[in-house]
Symmetry: C3
Subunit: 311 residues, 3 copies
């Protein structure tokens, strides 16, 4: 066990690079922050910079709030008015921010594994926190999802979790299935066949129609239909998608009474999920957002410790 | 009378929902802030978020400054890089911000009455401050206009106020005519006929040509020609508009020596107003901007009190 | 000499308006900040606003950090969502910000000498700091370049400095050649003939092919090929530009062992400069960025003193 939930990280880019102990300690630290634990404080004035090359509301704003709560000076990097518009690369941008004295860069980028070049370079002088890389990983979303599940059930061991929807394009699915399996959960996948990459996913769980899953699992984790990552060909109408693959009101009635509904949001209401389920009793979608702030505080604290920025 | 100008509001969305006492107490509190009054302080770290779906310089920046002066942590919501670009609704956006812990959202939106759905929902956990809704209301602009008039004349009772220009599209006109009438002022309207919705406005004041008004009133409140709300058909050139409906240098000479010129800005110089009048002795346009910061501090304080955020 | 590096400025818009003593005192103050000197502090809560009408990463973010380090409340003016999009002029925008209580505006604008109208007006109530005006001046870049050279060589007297590349469009070149000459350096220019405005530049230095310069000088100051200021006609491929006018690895080998490489960045790698030289031992490009923060603190401190904002 990690003592007093003190995790030290150089970067936070993918769940694969974290031990189970580190993940659990981050969740525990997130709960401490949620319960009102005081942050020990920064050694001196410290700058964080958020660089979102893809649209975001939740991840972006919750990192912003988490940074403010840790007393960081927050810089919002506006991609469209930066030298990126003159053709400057991500590498040269981060090299610059490090040279200016920024300690942590939170980055969302459409290129998978964008962070590898950055964390390998001896000249990049700041910590990288991955806010999502293309269809790759979304490790801070994974952390908040785990925190929400753990709050509910106390454990992951033997828990039955369904991940439902656009598995192919989902970085949330990739991060979550790896961590949930490692932590002892049993996974089920439901998805249109074209969105189910069996070679990649079969090793993690069982692929079944949603109707054979919905009454068995403890967690219905619905994924967003990511229109922005598709090539424009819509193979199903919203209504058809909802009827065939979505969590309808009828299906929700078959859920175990103790089971919960999750979604990384933004929700396409009445597509992945019936409109009335979003804010329903069994939904933890709002709780997920709230937890995101606290677990991101824990993540940032860990990389700030890695940078020797803490008191 | 409201004791010591202590106003408590759940939201601040429209002048119709405020009593005269509340409005006057907000103005008085604005004057206190302008005179250097200390703000009592926030109970704990508190977040405000500004969401401007329509362009703004004055309202946006003056809310930002007012928020900083109250010690709030200010978040600027960038619509173009948020999940709104993925189709997320305003409702789900504000639901999210509330879940993240934001206490106050200042919103400008092109949809009239956008706020009704928000303030009715039991799940939206933050105060809404209206920074302008389409051609509906602009209540914080109204408050700063009233503050500027009261500073000048000490009272509204019997004051003669002309509102001149694009009345049809003006949320400023709508908010101001209601409040000014309620506070005892006498209203005059001058406008091109196509921009004068007589059914709505006749009950509030008298419609007359500008030349029959300019020498009688205490306040010449000029409205902006809102090209961005028109359908592209310009019925008059700038020069013709100025000559027929604008405050020309010649007309300004006929004003009472004690009368003042107001404009919500941005001014189309030499359209609504002769260029040299904008920063002239009788103009209060710059004062209006300055007052905006202080009265918005009073407004924010009132909703923060409603959220139990004050010490 | 200026006592204890205490410079007082009303505005900071062009190197021509600064004495040598003022420039040297700003550099010395920058070094003090870099060495950890404490800033004496602001009299009261003070607002700075950054208005970048042209893209920027380094200048923008380093002013932002410098402002935060001085304890200023920083506002980022988003041009695209401001009333500028409704046609409001720069003059009226700055008039507004001054009326709202902003003390310092840092402005980058594509119009040369944009600042003249602002600093002449009696109604503009804030200090102007020029972050670059079209192809005119870039005085804060000049200051950080001088700081970097002085750190290296201790003096400017007799120093041989080459400025190489797109001299015609470069505000960096214009600011630097004036100041370097005034401070006693000897200048050399290398550039494609179409980018060498001999009438303007001949009085400041000697125009020679890069191969006749590279082994003689102490500083190789490479300029960015500013595609964004060209009219679309590319007269040379990147490879040809590099071979004829760039600092190739071969040319770099002929440099004096004590000579340094500078570039305002963003670098077009393998155009102005070979990729492997950017982060090489002789390069001071990263140091330039770091120094930018500290010298901008000195500049801002000087104008804040001019506004009576300091303790």
């Amino acid at each position: 066990m990690i003592k007093e939930n003190v995790v030290t990280l150089q970067h936070f880019v993918s769940v694969e690079e974290l031990t189970n102990e580190e993940v659990l300690a981050l969740l525990a630290r997130g709960e401490e922050f949620k319960a009102g634990a005081k942050f020990e404080g920064l050694e001196k004035q410290t700058f964080a910079c958020n660089l979102f090359f893809e649209n975001s509301t939740r991840t972006h704003n919750s990192f912003h709030i988490a940074e403010c709560k840790l007393g960081l000076d927050v810089m919002e990097f506006d991609v469209s008015t930066s030298a990126v518009s003159k053709g400057e690369t991500l590498y040269d941008t981060i090299l610059t921010l490090g040279a200016l004295g920024v300690e942590v860069c939170v980055i969302r980028h459409n290129q998978e594994h964008y962070y590898e070049e950055l964390i390998k370079s001896p000249n990049i002088d700041c910590a990288i926190v991955n806010g999502g890389d293309g269809s790759g990983q979304h490790p801070s979303q994974c952390a908040l999802d785990l925190m929400t599940i753990q709050e509910e059930f106390g454990t992951f061991e033997g828990l039955k979790v369904a991940i439902v929807g656009d598995l192919f394009h989902s970085r949330v699915a990739r991060s979550n299935m790896q961590m949930l399996k490692r932590l002892g959960a049993e996974l089920y996948f439901a998805a249109p066949e074209v969105w189910y990459p069996s070679e990649e996913f079969d090793q993690y769980g069982t692929y079944l129609p949603i109707d054979e899953i919905v009454d068995k699992v403890d967690v219905m984790m619905m994924l967003r239909v990511q229109h922005e990552r598709h090539d424009g060909t819509v193979f199903l109408s919203k209504e058809d998608y909802h009827r065939k693959y979505g969590l309808t009101v009828e299906r929700a009635k078959r859920m175990k009474p103790t089971a919960i509904i999750m979604h990384p949001a933004p929700v396409n209401r009445d597509a992945e999920l019936a409109d009335e389920l979003v804010e329903s009793e069994q939904s933890r979608i709002v709780t997920q957002m709230t937890n995101g702030v606290y677990v991101r505080m824990a993540i940032l604290e860990a990389v700030l410790r890695g940078r020797n920025c803490l008191k």
